[in-house]
Amino acid sequence: MTSKETGRDMLEMKGISKSFFGVRVLDKVDLTVGHGEVHALLGENGAGKSTLMNILGGVYTRDAGQVIFLGKPLENTTVRLAENAGIAFVHQELNLFNDLRVYENIFLRKEIVHSFGVLAKKEMIARTQELMAQLGVDIPATAMVSELETSKKQMLEIAKALYAKAELFILDEPTTSLNTAEIEMLFDLIRRLREHGKSFIFISHKLQEVFEIADRYTVLRNGQMVQTGDIAQVTATDIARMMVGQQYTDQSVYQPRELGEVVLKAEKLSGQGFRQVSFSVRRGEIVGFTGLKGAGISEMFSTIFGALPIYGGKLTLFGEEITSNTVRGAMRRRLAMIPSNRKENSVIPDFSLLENFYISEHRLSENEPIINKNTELKRYGTHRDALSIKANTPYDMITSLSGGNQQKVILARWLNTRSDILLLDNPTQGIDVGSKAEIYSLIQQLALEGKTILVNTLEIPEIMKVADRCVVFFHGRVHTILDREQITEERVMIAATNAAQTEVNA
C-alpha cells in the first residue's frame, strides 16, 4: 500500500538543519509524509532521527528549514503548539500518569465539569468507553494506568492523542518492550487509523516490522538524508546498507597477539533480558559485543559481573563453574566491569578523583582496614600516568573532569584491582572523539599485557578497530559470531537487525 493521493502531503519538512554546541547533527534534511501513510524513519544510533522528531514535536527549535503541516507553516514550534496543530509524539518513555485512571489521563486538563467545578466523571467515563470501542481497543475506562501492560499504555497514548484531534503520530521505537501478540495488536490499530487518513512516523530498528507496517521510508545517516522512497521497492539488505553507508575504518590500532587458554565461557546462559547465550573468550582476547538497544548485552555483562542473577545455563570463569554470582565473588576472581551510563553507575559524585579511584580496590583489601594515603597516592600516580588522566590534583572532585577523563578514572579504578577480565559496557558513551581513540588504544595495549577484554558498543567502527571477534546479539540471543576478517559494518548491521531473516520471511 502506497500513500494515498490526496493532492498534498500532510507533512513537509524541508532543509532542516540543527547544531548542538557547534556540532551539526542535522544537515538540510527533508521528510515528507502523505495522508494515511506509515512512514518509517531509519538510521543508526546517532543518525539524527530523534533530533528531527524533537524538532517536529517542538522540543527543539530548528536552526534552518521549513515545516509545513496540513498546508500551514509551523513557526516557533513549542510542544503545546505542535500538539494543538495535530502532531502527537508517543515517546519511548510513556507520558502517562501511572497513578491516575485511564479516563483521567485522557481528560487531563480537558476535564468535563458540572457547576462548581465538580468533575463529570460519568460522562468522561462514557466518552472514554466510546473512544476505546471506536478504536477496537480493550482498555477499561476506569482501570489504573499502572495496572495496564506496556502495549495497552501505548495504545492509550495513541487514543489520548486521537481524542485531542491528532492527525500525525510519531512512534519512537514503539515495539521495544512488546511481545509478538502485542505488536500485532498495535499494528492492527495503526492500520485501522491509517484507513481513516491518519499518518504515522514509525521509528524502529527492527527491519522486519518496518517491512510489515510501513508504506514509505526515509534513511538518515550522520545527520543527512540518504534516501527516501516506497518500501515495496527495496529489500532489508538495501536498507541496512543505506544506514551504514560506504564507511571506512581509519587508524586501526589492531595488533595480532598470541591468545591463551579459555578464561570465560558461557553455555546456554540465560538471565534478565538474554537467553541461551553461548560463547567463550580466551586470555588476551578482545571480543566486541554489539546489538541494537535492548539486545541484552548490558544485562549479560551485569550478570557475568554478579550484579544480576543467573536464570539458567552455565558460566565458567578460569575453569571454575560459578554457582552463586555476586559482585564480590566476581571481583575476587579478578573480574571488572565498567558499566554503561557513567553518571548513574560509576561516578560517586561527592568523592574526589582519588576516592573514586581507590574505592573498589579497598573491597579486596579489607583485612587492612585503615587507608594508607601514601600508598593510595602512589598507586593513583602510576595509573594517572599510564592512562594520561588530565587533572590538577588527586583531591579534585571527579565531577570537575571531562567525560573522557572521568571514564579514565573509572578505568583506573578497575585496573587498580589488578583484574584480568574487563567487561566494558559502552565505554565511550558521552565522550569526545579524541578520548574515544585514546580509550581504544588503551584497550589494545591492555590486551597486549594479557588482559581479556569484552567490549559492548553500538559503534561498529570502534569494534573494527580493536576486536579479535565480534558477537552480534539480536533480541537477547547470539545471532552471529564474526571473526576479525569477517567484521564489516554491513554484516554486523544485517545481523543486528536480523535483516537476512526478514528477507527469508518476506
Partner: protein, 340 residues
Amino acid sequence: MSTITTQDKPKQSITKVLGNYSFILIFFAILLVYLIINAGATTWSGVMNILRHSTVVGIIAFGMGLTIITGGIDLSVGSMLSLIGGISVVVFNATNSPILTLLFALTGGFVLGSINGLLIGKVKMPPFIVTLATMMIYRSIAQYYLRAVERKSIYNMDGTLSAYQGFYDFGQSKLFDLIPTVGIILILVTVVMVFLSTSTKYGRTIYAVGSNERAAMLAGISVEWVRVSVYVLTGVLCGLAAFIWLAMNGSVDPATLGRSNEMYAIAAVVIGGVSMSGGKGNLLGILFGAMSYNIIDKIIAAMRFDALINDTIKGAILLVAVLIQIMIPVLRGKFRKKEA
C-alpha cells in the same frame, strides 16, 4: 559533548573554608552571645559545663550523622536511650556492677540497632517509617516494663549498693580537676568517629552509599550491610550515651528521657554541616553542632525565659544555621562570577 573541564586550581578561598567549617563559626557566635548575656559563665568550669551537658546528645548525634550520610535517618535514638537506660538501671541494681551495666547497655544498643538496621538494610523498608515505629515501640516498652514489672514511676539506681557511689562520682568527676570525664568521653568518641569516617576503608563506604548507591554497589560495596552497620553503630552509641546518662543522673524517667533527642541530634548534625541528602559532611561538625545547641539552652535559662519558648528559639536558630549553609555556596558563586 562533555568538554567542560574546569581547569582552575582548587583555591582554598576564605569562602570555601567558611563553607566547610561554618559550624565552628556558628559555635563561636552562639558562645559569644552566651558569654555576653551571662558574664558569670565566663569561667573555665562554665565553658566545661557546655561540653559536659553536650555529651549525651552529642554521642547520639554521631550515630544520627552516620545514618544521614547514608541517606537514611534514625528517629528512634531518644527511645533507645530511654529503654536502654531504664533496663540498665535494673541490671545495675541486680548486679551492683558498672562494668556489667556498661556491657549490657552496649549489647542492648547493638540489639535495638540491629532491629532497625536489618529492617532497613535487608528488608529494604524506608528508614523514616522503620525508626518512627521503633521510636514508639522502644519507649513504650520502657514505660510498660517500669509499671507492670518494676511497679515504680521512675527507674532509680539503688543508692545503698556498694558500687553506687563510685559509679555516680564517675559521672561528676573531672580529670585533673579540669575537664569533666564525660566530656572527655565525648571528645574520644569524636576522635574515633572522625578517624573512622575519614581514614578507614569502611568509613568511606558510608559516604559512597549516600552519594550514589548504585555506583557504590557496582564498585563492589555491599550496600545492604553498610546500611545495617550504621544503624547498629547508632544503637551502640545510644547504649554508651545511656550509660553516661546513668552515671550523671542516677535515674531514668522513661517518659521524658531522650524525648525530642532525635530532633536535637538531627539539628546538631545539620548545624554541623552534614547534608541531609546524604554523601557529604564532616563528622567533626557534629561535636560543634551539639555544643551549639546546648549553649542555646543555657542562653534561654540565663535570660530567664519561659522554658516553653525554648523550642521556638532552637527551631529558629536551626533555620538560620541552614540558611547560612545554603547561602555560602550561593555567595561563593556570585564572587566567582565577579572575578570572571
